[in-house]
Amino acid sequence: MNGLTWKAGLLAVGVLCATTAAFAEGRDDDSEGASESGYTVSSRLEKKVRTSSKQDKSSLAAASTSSSAGTSAGSAIVGHPGRLLASNCFQCHGTDGRNGGFDSLAGESSREIIGELTEMRSKYEDDKGIMRVHAFGYSDEQLRLLADYFANVGR
């Protein structure tokens, strides 16, 4: 990769941040239990893409991909800003929060995931000691993004 490409890349950081912010802001209009309220990943992403304007073409592509792929595979949430954060949970809770040795996270409401992690920060329980450490590893905003990923990934 040459220097020019990196400069283009830096510009794209701005775009990405804007998209992330738009996604996060949009969260406030939505009910906490997004998956429970029944709207799909694709419609949700399309909505974000509309609000985040023309800048993020890859998310547009992502949205159309996810609508065709449905919610059977978590990979359908292409470009979700919580995806890479959420992947830190996959090692124990399974890829996309499915089929892991520990609690399944796929399709859990974001309210529940955030609630549990927040509670772990404030209360020490011996058998949840390792998760308590992880709960401190993410800002509230990061928790919201990764929880939103699992809420929308489909069971």
Binding site: M1, N2, W6, A8, G9, L10, L11, A12, V13, V15, L16, C17, K57, S58, A61, A62, T65, S66, S68, A69, S72, A73, G74, S75, A76, V78, G79, R83, L84, L85, S87, N88, F90, Q91, C92, H93, G94, T95, N99, G100, G101, F102, D126, D127, G129, I130, R132, V133, H134, F136, G137, Y138, Q142
Partner: protein, 438 residues
């Protein structure tokens, strides 16, 4: 020569044991719920060819997630000389016969079937980062837009030992495999009152808690089966390098009288004939000697000019794991071979691989890598045959130093070893390997 022998042994084992992979259940599940490649989305806007060298924890994970996240436009070829991976994680449990080495075999069939990854069972002869080609021993030439190098570690030869000694007389067993089996046999051949001597190299080395875990498991087995036998731990470091609270307690209380822990013991040489280990803290005789040598990036990294940190490790930008070697911008190095502030271990190699896969996917789509990646390191360590501890840390990107730093309050170890942790360890291992290979 060593490598060839190793591959030959794997070949024998492959015939006998590979179909019975320990992930059989996961494979069944993933296949029953999906047709081949169904986990791969259509074109996501990311288009390019990736060659991944090395099918260990980092390489397998990056191959999987490049397809899972990048979609059909990202073509992935995984090059691995062995037809299956042998896990180093859990391999200390082969020493006390709680697991068989075959239970630690993980093949590539699920990666092929579930994600459409092409697997070349071959060795790499050379790479050209500028012309973007990889030459394989079998004669094939692979073109790439991005190359991911995940070669793991290679070992220094300790003074006094000859090439081949690790495979025959003094196994380090610091990679799961035939040496693990040999070391287990040597321990079982010990008599009451004899001594097991192990040496720990200066950090950084693979799996920081691993040597101390091994000392505990060997001590646990010896005191039950060979009363009066002892474990001597010769640590080149000034103190216990991971889970200091847990292991100090294990050495002083749980395995009291069985383990002698000697810090600051740097190896001068090993006397093969007299089975003596000479160190800066004195000399010890061992019925079994388990010298864990100092380590460096897998040789392919040095051979191809990617090693630029302390003459041992490959420097990377941790936003993408792109090489910091001028002219090698098309190359990414993940896992133990890379020089980062993160530990060298399988769980975090999996996390680094995801950051790398995400970055390459974004680059292929004309974007730049995530500016604030998070990774986590976690592991469970058995302390006895039915108790374990854990150690974990979450790392976040620090723009000021351009390194991954432990997030405040987000690191810790178990309060005490427990049976519950031992059960959780088994769940963790099963999940981690499925997230990596299935």
């Amino acid at each position: 020569m060593k490598r060839r022998q190793f591959i030959e042994m794997c070949g024998v084992a492959a015939v006998a044991g590979v179909p019975a992979l320990s992930l059989a259940d996961d494979k069944k599940r993933s296949r029953s719920s999906s047709t081949p490649s169904s986990g791969v989305p259509g074109n996501t806007g990311a288009n390019g060819r990736v060659v991944v060298i090395g099918g260990g924890m980092g390489g397998a994970t990056v191959a999987k997630f490049l397809r899972l996240w990048g979609g059909q436009g990202v073509q992935v070829t995984l090059v691995e000389r062995s037809s299956f991976y042998i896990s180093s994680i859990m391999s200390n449990l082969v020493l006390n016969q709680q697991r068989t080495i075959e239970e630690l075999y993980f093949g590539y069939d699920a990666l092929k079937a579930n994600y459409g990854i092409a697997v070349e069972n071959d060795s790499v002869v050379d790479i050209d980062p500028t012309g973007r080609k990889v030459w394989l021993a079998g004669g094939k030439v692979l073109d790439f837009d991005r190359l991911v190098v995940a070669p793991g570690i290679d070992f220094d030869m300790l003074p006094g030992l000859d090439a081949g000694d690790y495979d025959t007389l003094f196994p380090h067993a610091w990679k799961g495999g035939a040496q693990t089996t040999l070391l287990g046999q040597q321990i079982r051949a010990m008599q009451s009152g004899e001594t097991f001597v192990m040496t720990i190299p200066k950090a950084p080395y693979r799996c920081p808690p691993g040597p101390y875990e091994r000392a505990c498991l060997v001590a646990d087995w010896l005191k039950k089966n060979r009363p009066g036998a002892r474990v001597v731990v010769l640590d080149a470091n000034p103190g216990i390098m991971a889970e200091a609270h847990t292991f100090q307690n294990a050495f002083d209380v749980i395995h009291r009288g069985v383990i002698d822990y000697i810090p600051n013991a740097e190896i001068d040489h090993i006397d093969r004939a007299n089975r003596m280990v000479y160190t800066t803290m004195g000399a010890w005789n061992g019925r079994v000697i388990n010298p864990i040598p100092s380590q460096r990036a897998g040789s392919i990294a040095a051979d191809t000019g990617l090693v630029n940190v302390n003459d041992r490790w490959a420097g990377v930008d941790v936003l993408s794991y792109q090489s910091t070697v001028a002219g090698a911008e098309s190359v990414h190095i993940i896992g133990d071979a890379s020089a980062t502030t993160q530990p060298k271990a399988g769980h975090i190699a999996n996390a680094e691989a995801k950051v790398c896969a995400d970055a390459i996917t974004r680059l292929f789509a004309g974007m730049s890598p995530d500016p604030s990646p998070v990774t986590n390191s976690a592991c469970y360590s058995p302390i006895t045959s039915n108790t374990a501890s854990w150690l974990t840390a979450v790392f976040g990107y620090d723009p000021a130093t351009q390194t991954m730093k432990v997030v405040p309050n987000a690191s810790g170890e178990a309060a005490a070893p427990s049976k519950n942790n031992y059960e959780q360890m088994n769940k963790w291992f099963r999940s981690l390997m499925a997230d990596t290979f299935v």
